[in-house]
């Protein structure tokens, strides 16, 4: 009985391409859609309430963002947002509440390493790259816009 390791590896590669379970995309899209949508509806509701209270239109966005970030942070703090994220995926990651979650969760996690090298240094491990490339690309677009004004 002589079986070469090459045969085993070939079989392994075949199993690996056929037998790895895939996430249920349709279900995940559906959950992401309605949870993400619901978060947006809440945002819109808050926007409408502020608007009724007489907040000027160009400041509304800032007010709504502040409230949504606050909600995201609170839900992270009380241990709800990670469960929501597991259920809704991108539906809870993409809205600004997800951004709050990505900053608050490492801040909580690394508190044990102290306020300087723990909380402060690790706070942006997830949001950091988003900020770097978000701000970076907005600068590039800004430069392009300056030269190619249409």
């Amino acid at each position: 009985m002589k079986v070469e390791e090459k045969t085993i590896r070939k079989k392994f590669d075949k199993l690996n391409s056929d037998n790895i379970p895939k996430p249920n995309l349709l279900l995940h899209c559906f959950n992401a859609f309605w949870v993400g949508g619901l978060i947006c509806i809440i945002g819109q509701f808050i926007s409408d309430v502020f608007s009724k209270m007489g907040i000027p239109k160009d400041e509304l966005g800032t007010y709504v963002s502040i409230v949504m970030v606050f909600l995201g942070a609170v839900l992270t703090g009380i241990g709800v947002y990670d469960k929501l994220g597991d259920f809704a995926g991108a539906g809870s990651v993409v809205p600004i509440t997800g951004f709050a979650n990505s900053i608050v969760s490492p801040a909580m996690e690394f508190k044990k390493e102290g306020f300087v090298f723990g909380v402060a240094a690790k706070m942006f491990i997830i949001a950091g790259p988003v900020l770097v490339y978000g701000i970076g690309s907005s600068v590039i677009v800004g430069i392009l816009y300056y030269f190619l004004r249409w």
Binding site: M1, V3, E5, T7, I8, R9, K11, F12, D13, L15, N16, N19, I20, P21, K22, P23, H28, T76, G77, G79, Y81, D82, K83, L84, G85, D86, A88, G89, S92, V93, G98, N101, S102, V104, S105, P106, M108, E109, F110, K112, I126
Partner: protein, 338 residues
């Protein structure tokens, strides 16, 4: 004196006995299907400490000191403590050893540490260099997540192939005498890497190492799967276990009816949301000292093969795009009758 058989196996003739074992697990493991086999189930996964790293260390300390008590020994009687864990610089083991009055050798084999420490311990015993040796290991879900993955409260989805690190520690005391299960063979594995890069697919990444070690054990000893009541891999999970079974068929070894995976056994994936199963050093440690060892004592299993499996990646290597090397070590344990 022991002798080498075949390429990678050592026959342990002095039959070092496993004279005391102890395991301790977190709340989630305590709700799993193997709950009745655990010596202690925690209500609080911090175990009264202020960080998860300290908690893991306290679990390991408890497992080691309680296993020594169970063997009716004192710390000074133990000649070597062989232990390891997943954290950087083996911190759980080193900090547990700090509070123990035992000469300490730290071992890193990722999740293969239970079989690794038991292997090395048996060989030291066989050499007549120790009266008593303790082999132990631990892992903690939250400390492993901190080191290898994302913050706990971060809202993200787990892949279907992802595994859940077991919170738990297990220890075994090896001695020379008594009517206890004993080690007969040790097969030391080679590192195998078939090019998996996905850190959420560790069971599959480790499967080639498990296949190689199990195959080599059979070739070296001339045994076959049916010679064992149970062959237990450490933490391949549901998918890795299927891979291993299928790949061993290529070598004409049919594992059906003789094969379990500790990671698959320890959780109920549907009820507990653990996807592909359990993982971590603690996984094979608590299943070996619990389900396997206790069933041996009751005479249900007469001969078992413990094959703990480890994924030898680091958080740096995976960021640099390295593939995941795997390792597996096998220890054959017998009790009660030929």
């Amino acid at each position: 004196m022991g002798r080498r058989v075949g390429l990678q196996t050592v026959e342990i003739e002095s039959k070092p006995r496993i004279i005391g074992t102890y395991n301790i697990v977190g709340p989630k493991e305590g709700q799993g299907p193997l709950r009745e086999y655990f010596d202690k189930i925690l209500d609080d996964d911090l175990n009264g400490t202020e960080s998860f790293e300290k908690a893991e260390s306290s679990l390991l300390y408890t497992a080691i000191s309680e296993s020594i008590k169970k063997a009716k020994l004192k710390e000074v009687d133990i000649n070597y403590l062989l232990a390891g864990d997943l954290l950087n610089q083996l911190s759980s083991s080193c900090f547990a050893a700090r509070d123990l009055n035992i000469p300490f050798i730290g071992l890193y084999g990722a999740c293969s540490t239970m079989a690794e420490s038991l292997s090395v311990g048996s060989m030291i015993m066989e050499g007549g260099l120790a009266h008593y040796v303790v082999a132990a290991t631990s892992s903690h879900f939250s400390s492993a997540e901190r080191q290898f993955r994302l913050p706990l409260e971060m809202g993200s989805q787990r892949a279907p192939t992802a595994q859940w690190t077991v919170t738990g520690a297990g220890a075994m005391v090896l001695g020379k005498k008594g009517d206890f299960p004993y080690v007969t063979h040790v097969t030391t594995g080679k590192v195998k890497d078939y090019g998996i890069v996905d850190v959420n697919n560790m069971g599959v990444a480790m499967a080639p190492a498990a296949v190689d070690t199990i195959k080599q054990h059979f070739m070296d000893t001339g045994r076959k799967p049916s010679d064992y009541d149970v062959i237990a891999t450490g933490d391949l999970g549901i998918i890795g276990r299927e891979f291993t079974e299928k790949l061993l068929l290529e070598y004409k070894y049919d594992m059906k009816g003789h094969y379990i995976d500790c990671g698959e056994k320890i959780f109920d994936p549907k009820r507990q949301g653990t996807n592909a199963g359990g993982s971590g050093c603690g996984c094979s440690a608590v299943v070996a000292t619990g389900y396997l060892f206790k069933n041996m004592l009751q005479g249900k299993f007469k001969r078992i093969l413990l094959v703990s499996t480890g994924a030898l990646l680091s958080s740096t290597s995976s960021l640099q795009g390295e593939t995941i090397p795997g390792i597996a070590h096998a220890v054959s344990i017998e009790f009660g009758g030929e």
